[in-house]
């Protein structure tokens, strides 16, 4: 375990989610789940981010924003699709203005389905993301 997975800073973006999953993400930061135990901080700033949490099915309005945020995050970075809408579009999949999941716009590493997602599932998803973050960092070191 290197410093990459000991200090994962997250960025949370709501890409037209109903707020259900967003509330669960915030719940994970409260004293009940306290993800700061693992060094996780909600940065709200792409320049400082390691793990990108995206909720919602992504509509026409915010897919540019989503792409922009993704591009601003320095490597190594991991994208987690939080909730069923972010994973596949969910019940909104066939709507005229919904892209149908985050992976239609940016590459996604971890899918955490659920409506809304449970904080325990979310933390499990982030732990998975940490493993991928480690691999990406190792790959980055090798490229050097």
């Amino acid at each position: 375990m290197t410093s990459a997975s000991k200090s994962p800073w997250i960025l949370h973006y709501n890409a037209s989610s109903c707020n259900g999953c967003d509330i669960e993400i915030l719940a994970a930061l409260t004293p009940v789940y306290d993800v700061e135990r693992f060094g996780i901080i909600n940065t709200g700033n792409p320049a400082h981010t390691d793990i990108f949490l995206v909720t919602g099915g992504v509509n026409e309005q915010n897919k540019v924003v989503l792409k922009n945020l993704y591009d601003q995050i320095p490597e190594p970075k991991v994208v987690v699709a939080v909730g069923i809408c972010a994973s596949s579009g969910g019940v909104f999949r066939d709507c005229y203005n919904i892209s149908g999941g985050v992976d239609t716009i940016i590459p996604v590493d971890v899918y955490v389905p659920g409506c809304s997602v449970r904080p325990e599932a979310l933390i499990e998803g982030i732990v998975k993301a940490l493993g991928i973050l480690e691999q990406k960092r190792a790959a980055m070191e090798e490229r050097k």
Binding site: G39, P76, M140
Partner: protein, 289 residues
């Protein structure tokens, strides 16, 4: 102080200060978490954060950021070295101001609104800090008749007894410089607020790590400035630091952030009233002592 000893002290400072500063930040985060009935991160978390940032991809808004943040770190270290080798306190204060100027330039270099707001507020906090630091230098000069830190240890007068007003002003400035509530105007501890990360918004990777390390140095420099008030009661100063640290954490957790106007008014009033009055009284009655 002979040259060899000065070099050894300087090297020791460069190695030990960031360790102390980082541990201080770690304790801060753990204790703050406990106050909010959370478990909190490991005590070494600030070191993990910096190690991670060091290995991130190099990405910047503007390439000059790297030069400015490096200058910020170097000047901060220089200021600390001047201080610990018993050098000129006035020069140290100016080096500290110059260091912050580079941080502000780095933040202005990025074409980002949050970064600019942070830079403006950092400028304000330098403006608030400087008068107090100059008052400290002036006060120590009145006690020891010299701007050299080393001479302060040779005089009979004790800082805390002769300059209590300036000491209180310094405590407020420490609160401001550590960017703690209610004076966390230029950035926020964790970016849950309207400023995102203020002055550090646009930095990432190594540049952010440098700013973080410079901040650790700054903590040590400010705390050692406070210790200078206890040159004859060094044991007492340890107790004082623990008391001040606990008080700082409680204040940080209890108070919301005030506006920058309120910050300026409150700290300048304290500086003017307690600091200047202290110097005037010392000037009038100092002859009798």
């Amino acid at each position: 102080m002979n040259v060899l000893l000065a070099i050894i002290v300087a090297i020791a400072f460069v190695i030990i200060a960031p360790l102390l500063g980082g541990l201080f930040m770690g304790c801060d985060r753990v204790l703050t978490a406990r106050m909010q009935s959370r478990v909190g991160p490991p005590i070494l978390q600030p070191f993990y954060d910096v190690a991670k940032l060091w290995h991130k991809e190099k990405a910047f808004n503007n390439p000059v950021e790297t030069i400015f943040t490096t200058a910020y770190l170097v000047l901060m270290v220089l200021s600390g070295v001047m201080f610990t080798t018993g050098g000129n306190i006035l020069l140290m204060v100016f080096a500290l101001a110059l260091a912050h100027t580079f941080l502000i330039l780095a933040a202005y270099a990025a074409n980002a609104p949050f970064s600019h707001i942070g830079a403006e507020r950092e400028l304000l906090s330098v403006m608030i800090t400087e008068p107090v630091l100059i008052l400290i230098a002036a006060g120590f000069y009145m006690i020891s008749g010299s701007f050299q830190v080393i001479d302060l240890f040779k005089t009979d007068g004790s800082g805390i007894i002769l300059l209590p007003g300036i000491f209180v002003a310094l405590c407020f400035v420490i609160l401001l410089r550590l960017r703690k509530s209610p004076y966390d105007i230029s950035t926020s501890e964790h970016a849950h607020q309207e400023l995102v990360k203020g002055v550090t918004t646009s930095f990432s990777g190594r540049n952010l790590a440098k700013v973080e390390i410079a901040h650790w140095f700054e903590i040590v420099i400010l705390v050692s400035l406070a210790i200078l008030f206890f040159t004859h009661l060094l044991v007492f100063s340890a107790i004082m630091i623990i008391v001040c640290f606990s008080l700082l954490l409680i204040i940080d957790n209890v108070f919301p952030r005030v506006t920058w106007k309120m910050t300026m008014k409150s700290i300048w009033l304290i500086t003017l009233f307690l600091g200047v009055l202290n110097l005037v009284l010392l000037g009038i009655f100092g002859v009798l002592l």
